[in-house]
Amino acid sequence: MSDTTIDTTTPRASTLQQARLPRWAPLGLAVAAVAAGVGIGTAAGMGNPFQMGLIAALLFVVLSYAVTAAVEGGRQAKNQLATSLVWLCFLIAVVPLLSLIWETVNRGKTVLDGYFLSHSMDGVQTILPGGGAYHAILGTLEQVGIATLIAAPIGLLTAIYLVEYGRGRLAKVVTFFVDVMTGIPSIVAGLFILSFWIIILGFGYSGFAGAMALAILMMPIVVRSTEEMLKLVPDELREASLALGVPKWRTILKVVLPTSIGGITTGVMLAVARIAGESAPIVLLVFGSQAINPSPFEGAQSSLPYYIYEQWQLGNEASFDRAWAAALVLIAFVMILNLVARGIARWKAPKTGR
């Protein structure tokens, strides 16, 4: 491309036909790269499929770049390089994430049964198989339940304040600190309740203490998601109701909230799923227990995340099995919450007028 002028009189060597690789080329190269990767890997005595995969991937990136550069030219080669890299990113990310799910399901299912779900670790020798996570499941449900009872109303009302009333300085300050609160590490929330509730006020370790820390983590999530949902309610709806002489608070309760209830529920459930997996505050505040303690207000409890940590720390095969099984239960719980929440969002979506 040397003719850079606009009204060039010499006809450009313009052809739309460019040398292009056949459509099967990427697939062919991929197969070749994988074969070469496995070959090189075996020759070098690497038994690890990840390393072979890595070699194959690198080979593919380099090969496809070189071949495209030779046949189609530099620009197309760069484009091909970017495409390969983007696909590679996707594959690289998928491998550990799939492995995580695979390991959890595979190793978790070995001891996961009705007995595991209905018995505690009370009196179980930790190096022997047996025992269960019932006390932990109960603890998680109670702690998360209490946290939700604290956080959901405060979060909801705060969001209502921000969207329906908030115009002044206070609203700005609250908005800012909700953002700040979103970023609080869970361990810091735990330390706060520790210093305030346990050290200064002198209460003991309990499920309730853990629930308060979880509530702190949950509040900003509820505020944010509820705010988003309330903002989606069209102003015409509010005005229509206000114009009928309905007081503002009844407008909010009877018009605004019912319109956005699906989205709000989704947000709360996602927040519940988030905090259900929190273990750091539990370690500090609930302290862990081997036996069933049905009272969240008195004495140490356990929880699923804590149970996983504890069983992992014991460091023997039987306890690892229990840890995986509990991880599977926890993931299942969180995923079901997520799926149901998203289901509700989809099911309710048309009614909010989106």
Partner: protein
């Protein structure tokens, strides 16, 4: 609005109407009070967090015989206490940097994959799965990291030692790969979903007309991305990364399960040693006495301040971007 209907209600002259209005006004007041009260409660909680942590931390630091910022030790069991956060600060920063270096490019790649490269039939489920993975509890990542990732990294570290060991930073003496580098890799995997989904949202908002402008000039797909998608999404990528960084800095249990800690800074990132703020708190809490707990709270306060700064910076970038795109639209 109310004055509009006043004539009708007075002309009807029905007392119930008037009383309904007055309860409406009282209801409004109560409701406003409740909702404003909740907002204020949030502020109080935030203030209390900062206040109580600072109070306990000041008690601990006043009893600290060593330099709180620079000491390489953590002995809080006996008096006088000697503890410092130097190793923790180093470990927290280094592991988070490793996580960012690995996660951000890959996350941007996946975000581009979903928004611009993948066939639509693949993009939607991939985006969905990535969102779900953000919900996997950190302790599960920790368990997987300790029992699966650590043994599988040993060959990689041996290989790295062979070719890059001369740097000192990447030398490896063998043994379990429970090092800061492993922590970095695990944190990278953990923050990948959040960085991906925020970046993806930004890429999706790139106005179609900017992309078409590039296409109409004869740009290849990569050139479209480079000319219109990345410049538009740059601040979004930065703020997504900062949010990811905030998570990495504060991650507790996954680090506590994977890292084999010590109060020494190991030159090699591949060998065990070091620690992070959050991990240190979780690992030492149970054995700590009253003074020890205060010392841990003091380190937690430092972590709190660091995450506040990082998150604040991220929010500011997002806010600036909103203004920018607001005026450009």
């Amino acid at each position: 609005m109310k004055t509009d209907i006043e004539p009708t209600s007075t002309s009807a002259g029905s007392p119930p109407q008037v009383s309904a209005r007055s309860t409406g006004r009282a209801g409004d007041k109560i409701f406003l009070g409740l909702s404003r009260g909740s907002g204020i409660a949030l502020l109080v909680i935030m203030a209390a967090i900062a206040g109580f942590l600072a109070y306990r931390a000041s008690i601990a630091i006043s009893k600290d015989e060593a330099n709180f910022l620079t000491a390489f030790e953590w002995s809080t069991g006996s008096t006088p206490m000697r503890f410092g956060i130097a190793v923790l600060a180093y470990g927290t920063v280094v592991s988070s940097i490793i996580a960012m270096v690995i996660a951000v490019p890959i996350a941007v790649g996946i975000a581009l994959f979903i928004s611009h490269y993948a066939p639509r039939r693949l993009a939607t489920p991939v985006a969905y799965v990535i969102d779900l993975l953000a919900a996997v509890p950190s302790i599960v990542y920790g368990l997987w990291g300790a029992l699966f990732l650590v043994p599988h990294l040993t060959p990689l570290y041996t290989w790295m030692d062979k070719y890059l060991g001369w740097t000192g930073v990447l030398s490896y003496q063998g043994g379990a790969a429970r090092s800061l580098f492993t922590v970095g890799i695990l944190l990278a995997i953990m923050i990948l979903p959040i960085v991906t989904s925020v970046s993806r949202e930004v890429f999706r908002q790139v106005p179609k007309m900017h992309e078409e402008a590039a296409l109409a000039l004869g740009a290849t797909r990569w050139e479209v991305v480079r000319m219109s998608v990345l410049p538009f999404g740059r601040s979004g990528i930065i703020s997504a990364s900062m949010l990811g960084l905030g998570r990495a800095l504060g991650e507790t249990m996954a680090v506590a399960t994977v890292l084999s800690p010590s109060y020494l800074i190991n030159v090699s990132l591949l060998d065990p040693g070091g620690g992070t703020f959050a991990q240190n708190i979780a690992s030492h809490f149970k054995e700590a006495n009253d003074n020890g707990r205060d010392a841990l709270i003091a380190s937690g306060l430092v972590l709190f301040v660091i995450t506040l700064l990082v998150n604040g910076a991220a929010r500011m970038i997002i806010a600036r971007r909103k203004e920018y795109s607001g005026t450009a639209a």
